[in-house]
């Protein structure tokens, strides 16, 4: 079927289809957009047919995924066309191009309203469709009464009525207040008497939404819904065209059953009986048939009926029928039914006590965990998670562990978390729990979050019986040739704390334990190193009487790390070294961690935060409360807070023992504060897994991780880890100089120097960046990336990743100025020197005045121009206050240096300056700019500035630009530098992208 009469559109679509590649397509689209833009711009009296054609093309282009940022007005204006063909296009294209938040839609509200209250039925339909599809709050407030009138009007035909019902539904969703509950319950009841099934379907959708919001007002509608269901179930008075594969409107059946689920119960016995007859018929009478569509439709009804039965909490008999049906479904071949069977079983667990029956299907559900379809696997995982209890936890968790090896990456984290929670919640014994978690870390370490291993530490600490076993297991895992970093952390922690419990076993002497841990040190990351150091300190403390050889070995390590670049490691090394010299006192300070107060597992809390089905989680929570299990959480009945630990006392005493090391000890007291102060008022800190200090006796590793991310360094005020390298020049001052000069140094630190050289011609610039390596070793991971504002097109030739020693690399950079703007491009320059990553954000001196060409005007040339640019937005005037004090001559020099050439004598008043220049950009081409500055000799801090050019944006940007030059912004940074002569302060603020951008943009 050809597009009647719109050849242009068909041709365009064919051409797009014939494009060989994306690039060609883009070219063709750009050409067309240019053409349409021109037509819309230049031909005011565009014929409706033409307009229609272009609007269609726009929609087609938009659908292909291109930005169409113009022509919305034309589409919207077609809505008010008098004739149907144009109006129709206007409505449809508007509702596709715009969404409810679009400002243009407001313009259309009046026209739309006129169409709704007008007499033309076809126009009413178009208007209702638009409002129903994209109407927002504003539409709701101004149109709801009219739409309601249509819906209840007796003269309104079905085709309008059903649209009005759904339109009102949309408006109600946007603002529930537009439907007055008192007035509407009766009307709604009347609407449900509707015989026309099209209108009734739409009204039922509206009803579902109303009743979900407030069922109290609509009790009178309940029997009507049951009547509708009866009518459909008996196939009474259902026209042939409303049956779908022989089923009386399955959609209406589903919607009606959905509406009934919003009523808490059905009290009237007759209504209830009638409904259950219908439901019984659906449950019993739905057979699997060959025709896919019939099957889907009948099962859509069946699943909704199941949901309704569950909701009404029917007699046990019906419930067991449901479970039996679901049991059948999860074993069928049809994947949709299998999926829904699993999903509904999970829902069923939530509402009724059918756990025992569902457990019979456990084997089948586990099979589904290996289904080729990820959608089904997800359902199976959720169901297994929900149905798990003490009796089947072992089986289910072991299945999950097995599946973990083959599961796709997207599911692993969820899987690991769920397995950890179940293991914790339903563990038949503690050692099993330990085994599961260690296996979990071993198999999927990358997907085991820190929460999980923190939790392990908490359990082991709180369960003395578990400690030797945990230490033994950790020791076994360390024998493996390659182990995951998380395993390293947990093993090192456990062995540090409890390896002395193994001391009599072969291979478990402090020395051997130390040896096997230390062997792994070169392979672990910085945060883990800190944990290892803590372990060494603990091992040292536990080896009594001290083994001098071991002691020397460990001291040597502490010594080595005293100069570590990582503040956390350094601090630990220094402190442990100092502490370990204290002999017997060490035993008190590094004593075992006290028990943690019992609290809700943070894993379960986290599971609640994840995207997981919250309903299903609440099910497991409520069941967990009912069930008595020997889960770990409850096993330890000891009061959370033990008698005060010796550690606390010891720490108070230390300073008096050894005055010299006073400051170290004080720091220890601070950092270990949470350990010593583990008394009731601080119970929260101690028990909270997310507060790593609580778990790790000595200063927490993860704590520093988060801290350094924030850039706040409570523990290490030495300086930001990144950018340990400071520039040796004042970057801000250099930038200001380069705004006027065209070549010079842009940045310099002890290792690197960046020079810049620029040539400007019209709206284009050619820059060369000179990246110089000042050192005798090569610089790695060199990266230069531009964060360019939208008005500049920057093309940087590739920057080599490595700069050889004492070499200089030249990187040409092409700049094109697209339109006037004061924004500044930022060069993100980073490199690695040794282990330091140095990252600097540098402003690129490609500023507005670089695109000026000086021009000197005579009075004859100047004044006609000045007068012709008479008023805003082309000519703008502003009184500027807070001007940097400078003499008139200095100001003239400043303007001249910016290539704003001052024409002396043009202004009769000697206190005034007149300047001119030509500005170049792609959008404005060359554009004359005129500036007049009137100064006040009595008050040099204020002046009046008038700027004029042929382009409003340019005028504005130029005015702001000059203002920035005149007022004290540049000098503001200078005093800061003078006050704090260390150049360190400057780069820190410059390397903070937030502050930088705020300053720049």
């Amino acid at each position: 079927m050809a597009l009647s009469g719109m050849r242009g559109l068909s041709v365009f679509i064919s051409e797009i289809r014939n494009c060989q590649n994306k690039e060609q397509e883009r070219l063709r689209v750009d050409k067309e957009l240019g053409n349409i833009r021109n037509r819309f711009k230049n031909e005011k009296g565009l014929a409706p047919y033409e307009k229609k054609k272009y609007v269609w093309k726009m929609l087609y282009i938009f659908m292909l995924g291109y930005d169409v940022d113009f022509g919305h007005m034309e589409a919207v204006s077609l809505i008010s066309a008098p004739k149907y063909p144009e109006k129709q296009v206007g409505y449809l294209v508007t509702s596709c191009l715009l969404n409810e938040n679009h400002d243009f839609l407001r313009l259309a509200i009046n026209t739309v309203r006129n169409d709704i209250i007008g007499r033309n039925e076809t126009f009413q339909c178009l208007a209702l469709t638009l409002v129903g599809n994209i109407g927002g709050r504003e539409f709701a407030e101004s149109l709801a009464p009219d739409v309601q009138k249509l819906l209840i009007s007796s003269s309104c035909r079905p085709l309008v009525k059903k649209k009005a019902a759904l339109c009102l539904l949309r408006l109600f969703r946007k603002n529930p207040d537009v439907v007055n509950v008192d007035g509407w319950s009766n009307r709604m009841a009347q609407l449900l008497d509707e015989r026309n099934l099209g209108v009734l379907t739409s009204s039922m959708s509206l009803f579902v939404s109303l009743v979900s919001n407030n069922h109290e007002a609509y009790w009178s509608c309940l029997p009507k819904c049951v009547k509708v269901l009866e009518r459909l179930a008996r196939n009474q008075d259902v026209p042939q065209e409303y049956t779908y594969y022989g089923i009386p409107s399955p959609w209406l059946q589903v919607k009606t059953m959905r509406a009934l689920q919003y009523f808490p119960t059905i009290e009237d016995p007759n209504t209830r009986r009638a409904l259950f007859e219908v439901l019984q018929r659906v449950l019993m009478g739905t057979d699997v048939v060959k025709n896919v569509n019939k099957n889907n439709a009948s099962h859509a009804v069946l699943f909704e009926a199941l949901a309704l039965v569950m909701h009404l909490d029917a007699e046990k008999e019906m419930m067991s029928q449901c479970v039996a049906l679901l049991g059948k479904f999860i074993a069928v071949r049809e994947p949709n039914i299998r999926y829904l069977g699993l999903e509904n079983m999970t829902r069923m667990l939530m509402v009724t006590d059918v756990q025992e029956i569902i457990k019979r299907h456990q084997a089948q559900i586990i099979t589904s965990l290996k289904d080729p379809d990820i959608s089904i696997r997800r359902r199976a995982l959720d169901l297994l998670y929900a149905m798990c209890d003490v009796s089947n936890a072992k089986d289910i968790v072991e299945e999950l562990l097995q599946y973990l090896g083959t599961a796709e990456f997207t599911m692993r984290e969820e899987l690991a978390l769920k397995a950890a929670i179940l293991a914790e919640k339903f563990a038949p014994d503690l050692s099993w729990y330990m085994d599961v978690i260690l296996q979990l870390i071993d198999k999927a370490g990358d997907f085991v979050s820190d929460d999980i291993w923190f939790r392990v530490v908490q359990f082991v600490t709180n369960n003395e019986d578990l400690q030797p076993y945990a230490a033994l297991k950790a020791r076994e895992y360390l024998d493996k040739p390659a182990i995951h970093e998380t395993m390293m952390k947990v093993s090192a922690y456990l062995l540090g704390e409890y390896s002395h419990l193994l001391a009599r076993r072969p291979g478990c002497s402090p020395k051997e334990i130390f040896g096997i841990i230390h062997e792994k040190l070169p392979t672990v990351s910085t945060p883990t190193v800190s944990i290892l150091l803590s372990s060494y300190a603990k091992i040292l403390m536990h080896s009594q009487p001290p083994d001098p050889e071991l002691q020397n070995q460990i001291w040597a390590i502490f010594n080595k790390y005293e100069t570590s670049i990582d503040a956390e490691i350094q601090q630990r090394a220094v402190e442990y070294f100092a502490l370990s010299k204290k002999g017997a006192a060490l035993i008190d300070i590094l004593a075992e961690m006290p028990k943690f107060p019992e609290r809700e597992s943070s894993l379960i809390k986290r599971a609640g935060d994840t995207e997981a089905d919250t309903a299903e989680l609440s099910a497991i929570k409520s069941r967990a409360q009912q069930q008595a299990s020997n889960a770990l959480v409850v096993t330890d009945q000891q009061p959370a807070n033990h008698p005060p630990q010796v550690t606390q006392l010891a720490m108070v005493k230390i300073p008096s023992i050894n005055e010299e090391n006073n400051h170290v000890d004080q720091e220890v007291t601070q950092t270990n504060g949470s350990m010593g102060e583990g008394e009731p008022q601080n119970g929260d800190i101690l028990g909270d897994l997310l507060s790593p200090l609580a778990i790790e006796g000595p200063p927490g590793v993860s704590g520093t991780e988060t801290l350094s991310e924030d850039g706040a360094l409570a523990l290490a005020p030495v300086g930001e880890q990144e950018n340990a390298v400071k520039p040796i020049v004042d970057i801000a001052e250099i930038f200001h100089a380069l705004c006027i000069k065209d070549s010079g140094v842009l940045y310099e630190d002890p290792y690197v120097q960046i020079g810049i050289k620029a040539e400007w011609r019209g709206h284009q610039g050619r820059l060369v960046l000179f990246l110089g390596n000042k050192t005798t070793s090569s610089l790695d991971s060199v990266q230069a990336v531009f964060l360019s504002p939208s008005h500049l097109k920057l093309e940087l030739s590739s920057v080599p990743e490595v700069i050889p020693p004492r070499a200089q690399v030249q990187c040409p950079l092409e700049v094109v100025n697209l339109c006037p703007s004061r924004d500044v491009a930022v060069l993100d320059f980073s490199y690695k020197f040794g282990t330091n990553l140095v990252d600097n954000k540098l402003r690129l001196p490609a500023v507005l005045n670089k695109f000026f060409q000086p021009i000197t005007l005579s009075a004859e040339e100047f004044f006609p121009q000045w007068r012709s640019l008479a008023a805003p937005p082309l000519k703008l005037q502003e009184v500027v206050r807070g001007v940097r004090p400078m003499s008139l001559g200095e100001m003239a020099n400043l303007l001249n240096s910016l290539k704003l050439i001052v024409s002396p004598g043009l202004d009769p008043n000697a206190n005034n300056l007149v300047a001119s220049t030509t500005f170049y950009s792609e959008s404005t081409r060359s554009m004359l700019c005129l500036v007049r500055i009137e100064t006040d000799p009595a008050d040099r801090t204020q002046l009046r500035m008038t700027v004029a050019s042929g382009d409003p944006t340019l005028t504005f940007e130029l005015k702001e630009f000059i203002k920035e030059q005149l007022i004290s912004i540049p000098s503001a940074s200078r005093p800061a530098v003078h006050q704090q002569p260390q150049p360190t302060t400057q780069p820190i603020s410059l390397s903070d992208p937030g502050a930088l951008l705020a300053g720049l943009l």
Binding site: G198, W251, A300, N336, D373
Partner: protein
């Protein structure tokens, strides 16, 4: 509620998009990209539902075209699957054995017909006959206007001869 309808070809080309919930243009492209990646790569014998960002997407493949509708987690998946089929049957009846090319060159018709099937992300009309009748009535309104315009231009042409 249906949040959006997508028609995507096997090559990942978009043939129709209709958004009932507000998405910006950027979000729209992202949604299309994510979902085509997920759905086009699925094998033939899997179920018709994919879980995505807390929503469900019900999809069905007809020849080279995938029809996708995004719904809430708690919505009835099979019901929506059959809304898709209902729409396809109406298209099929209108074009007479519809194929992808019909929908490419007459994409506007596909939109008009969809507007008669869904409003506000809800099913509006479950009778194929009624939808066909309404769409035909619209077509004849457009044709009538065209004839009228043609006859007026004839009259003008004749008068200015």
């Amino acid at each position: 509620m249906i949040h959006f309808v997508l028609l995507i070809s096997r090559q990942g080309k978009v043939r129709l998009t209709k958004w009932y919930s507000p998405y910006s243009q950027k979000e729209r492209s992202k949604v299309i990209r994510e979902l085509s990646g997920m759905i086009l790569s699925r094998g033939p014998k899997l179920c018709n539902f994919v879980e995505w960002r807390g929503f469900k997407v019900v999809y069905k493949r007809y020849a080279s075209l995938y029809f996708c509708m995004c719904i809430n987690q708690e919505d009835n998946e099979l019901e929506v699957l059959e809304i898709i089929h209902h729409y396809v049957e109406i298209l099929d009846r209108y074009f007479g054995s519809v194929c992808e090319l019909d929908l490419i060159f007459n994409f506007h018709k596909a939109y008009y017909i969809l507007d008669e099937v869904l409003i506000a992300g809800e099913l509006q009309e479950s009778s194929k006959k009624t939808v066909a009748r309404l769409v035909a009535a619209q077509d004849s309104l457009v044709d009538a206007a065209k004839e009228e315009a043609a006859s007026i231009s004839n009259i003008i042409a004749q008068a200015t001869k």
